[in-house]
């Protein structure tokens, strides 16, 4: 497994786009203070996504003939990095761009590709992911939401929860049971693209501890799905979801969730007349970890770009990356509040307070630590 994480460089042609991305994004976010930008890939702004799409920057890796950029995973890495580094509000198109689009291209019919991909690339179709259910968190194979064949239709009943931005999305790609029972585990599962405007679909946002409503519960009450709603092969939902998670877990967002916090913190550090060696070491540790994690993320991207499905490598980098994201607010709070006689600047306080509250979610979304470590153990041949 260690041999799969090789030193790789971003190809020049992809790197060369960075300045153009940067100039556009900087202009877009210039009026947003750090504590707002800190929401980053949790912040939904359809207008911003459409502006990116107008420049051809949504669906960079999707096929050109379907309206995408036809570029490599490295192109998406560079753009993602520029967006995340300053906390641009990318949530509207993020999931479609990262995983739903690639999933449809990989498993979809020609008709499905023609229908969804051009709209994803124009930021006109936003997607959410229906995996978790009230009784199925880490134990994803136990999902009970069921689609039952009914003539040429599927009849969908059940409930999803913790579905990010379901209330703003047009479609959900859901993992549901199409045969057998929960005891059949990962057999008999399938994926469907569900139009969330259909009769019988109810979406209720859930307010989080920071006062934001980004995740939802979604109820399906006898929803009629036509045959085109099935994506991929009936009964292959588990394999498809596993491949999808390689996209979900491999990106730089698993390193950069707290990164905006470093802006006001570095500003504060630079304002100190005589930072101690210990404080400098904290700053250096934050930078050295970032440098190595970034290179590991590029290594995973290189495998994606080579057409591989780096499921285990992505799990390894995500586990380390989210640990880093969670350490930042903890370490930074200790440095910032070490001397009550020199209180920190207001915007640093606000950004730190926000990140501190939401940080526990970083290692939950996209698979918990325990799930990831189990996958790594499987990769090591232990299970």
């Amino acid at each position: 497994m260690l041999d799969n994480l090789q030193l790789a460089a971003i190809p020049k042609e992809e790197e060369s786009m960075r300045a153009e991305y940067r100039a556009f994004i900087a202009n877009e976010v210039r009026d947003l203070p750090p504590h707002v930008r800190a929401r980053s890939w949790a912040a939904f702004d359809a207008e911003f996504s459409r502006k990116l799409a107008a420049r051809g920057w949504v669906g960079l890796t999707l096929p050109r003939e379907l309206g995408g950029g036809g570029r490599s995973a490295f192109a998406r890495f560079v753009l993602s990095e520029e967006l995340l580094a300053v906390g641009a509000p990318v949530a509207a198109h993020w999931i479609a761009d990262r995983q739903s689009g690639p999933l449809i291209c990989k498993y979809g019919t020609e008709e499905q590709k023609q229908f969804y991909i051009p709209r994803i690339c124009k930021a006109e179709a936003f997607f959410c992911i229906g995996m978790s259910e009230p009784g199925s968190g880490s134990d994803l194979a136990s999902v009970r939401t069921r689609a039952t064949p009914e003539g040429s239709l599927w009849r969908l009943n059940g409930q999803k929860i913790w579905t990010t931005h379901a209330h703003h999305s047009h479609y959900m790609i859901a993992l549901v049971r199409t045969s057998g029972t929960a005891e059949d585990r990962n057999k008999g599962l399938s994926q469907f693209i569900i139009d969330l405007s259909l009769p019988g679909v109810t979406v209720r946002p859930i307010v989080d501890l920071a006062g934001d409503a980004h995740f939802c519960e979604v109820f399906f009450d006898n929803v009629a799905l036509d045959e085109n709603a099935l994506i991929g092969t009936e009964g292959s939902g588990w394999e498809q979801v596993t491949a999808e998670l390689a996209y979900e877990r491999s990106g730089p967002e698993r390193i950069y969730s707290s990164i905006v916090l470093l802006e006001p913190w570095l500003q504060w550090l630079k304002s100190l007349p005589n930072p101690s060696a210990a404080l400098l070491a904290q700053a250096g540790a934050i930078a050295s970890h970032l440098a190595v994690l970034r290179q590991m993320s590029i290594a995973v991207t290189a495998r994606l770009a080579a057409g591989l499905s780096p499921v285990v490598e992505a799990a390894l980098v995500k586990d380390l990356g989210t640990e880093y994201e969670q350490q930042l607010p903890r370490l930074i709070a200790d440095t910032v509040y070490a001397d009550p006689d020199t209180p920190p600047p207001s915007e640093l306080v606000r950004t730190l307070s926000y990140i501190t509250k939401v940080a526990p979610a970083f290692s939950l979304r996209g698979g918990t630590r325990e799930v990831l470590r189990g996958m790594i153990a499987r990769g090591l041949g232990l299970r």
Binding site: M1, L2, L5, L7, A8, A9, I10, E15, E81, A85, V86, Y256, I259, L262, E263, L266, L269, K270, P275, A277, A278, L279, L280, A281, Q282, A283, G284, A285, I286, A287, S288, H289, L290, A291, V292, L293, R294, Q295, M296, I298, A299, L316, D319, L320, E370, L372, R373, G374, I376, A377, L380, G381, L382, R383
Partner: protein
């Protein structure tokens, strides 16, 4: 695939001539002559010396697997250090002497001792002192072991032995020493991890191998993560075709690898339990080196503070720009 051929050659030499029994014998004070002459004859000492100077003229990227192998095999001689010392000497117009060269980049302590990794098995010590480099004869020093069963030494030279072969160099010897130790740490960590994974598969308790228990699996997963991170950090310092690594990249490599040692060594010993702390079992050959090399040429706090200083002094608008501009592989 030149590096693979080179690595295969060194691997077979080390397997043959530097097996754990040999490592133990040399650490116990046994002769280094047979092993050193095999290394010297192999030509690996001149890996980083320019072709015009009679060396192989290879760059850091090609040398990395060799240096990593020195760590992975717990080679009890300073082959990696001799490689870089010879490169430094020839660049300064000095003729490298025959024999093993150790590096020392810290001043003497209050007792007058200079800590020299591999000091007790080196013929020469390349010392950074008062803004220049000095090549000192190891036999001229009073030598005390830095630790029982270790080839690392505490050395004191009489004043007359100093400044004999002194030459100017703009190389940051401490950073270079740290970068090479980081590559050795990556190798030793890999071996520690491999031994632990193997043991977890073999050792049975409660009727099954302990590697089947989730608690053990998660410990191994965390060890794998930190071993991978240390490896990547070291590779980053050795990414180029140059003969000498960049100081800031060495700083990241040594800081990250040093930090990983505590997690990897503690996990390995916890999973091995009592057998792991016996002299007879090989694990200790590698974990002792993790402790020693973490300490040598500056721990993570020293190198992180240097990185922190560079970060605050840089014009980069955020931390991502800093690592991309200063530390990314291109």
């Amino acid at each position: 695939m030149q590096d693979n051929l080179l690595l295969d050659a060194l691997e077979s030499l080390l397997k043959d001539k530097a097996a754990p029994a040999v490592v133990r014998a040399i650490e116990g004070g046994g002769s280094t002559a047979a092993l050193w002459s095999a290394l010297e004859e192999s030509g690996f000492c001149d890996t980083l010396v320019a072709e015009a100077e009679g060396g192989a003229g290879l760059g850091l990227a090609d040398a990395f697997p060799l240096i990593e192998a020195c760590g992975r095999h717990a080679l009890p001689l300073p082959l990696a250090q001799t490689m870089v010392a010879r490169a430094l000497l020839t660049r300064a117009g000095e003729r490298p002497p025959a024999g093993a060269i150790a590096l020392a980049s810290a001043p003497a302590n209050a007792q007058g001792d200079i800590a020299v990794p591999y000091g007790s098995v080196a013929n020469w010590v390349l010392l950074a002192r008062e803004g220049a480099l000095e090549l000192l004869d190891a036999r001229a020093a009073a030598i005390a072991s830095a630790d029982d069963h270790s080839v690392d030494a505490l050395m004191t030279w009489p004043a007359r032995a100093l400044a004999q072969r002194r030459f100017a160099s703009d190389a940051d010897l401490r950073a270079i020493e740290a970068g090479f130790l980081a590559a050795q740490l990556a190798g030793a960590m890999r071996q520690v991890f491999a031994l632990t994974l193997q043991y977890a598969n073999e050792r049975k308790q409660f009727g099954r191998s302990i590697g089947k228990f989730q608690a053990i699996q998660h410990q191994l997963s965390v060890m794998a993560e930190h071993t991978a991170a240390a490896h990547m950090a070291a590779r980053m310092a050795f990414a180029s075709e140059a003969q000498l690594p960049q100081p800031l990249a060495c700083a990241v490599a040594k800081a990250r690898a040093s930090e990983a040692t505590a997690i990897v060594a503690a996990g390995a010993h916890a999973i091995h339990a009592a057998i792991g702390i016996t002299a007879e079992y090989d694990l200790q050959l590698y974990t002792r080196r993790l402790y020693a090399w973490r300490a040598a040429a500056g721990s993570e706090s020293y190198w992180n503070a240097r990185i922190g200083r560079a970060l605050l002094a840089s014009g980069a608008s955020n931390a991502v720009d800093f690592v991309r501009q200063e530390l990314a592989t291109t």
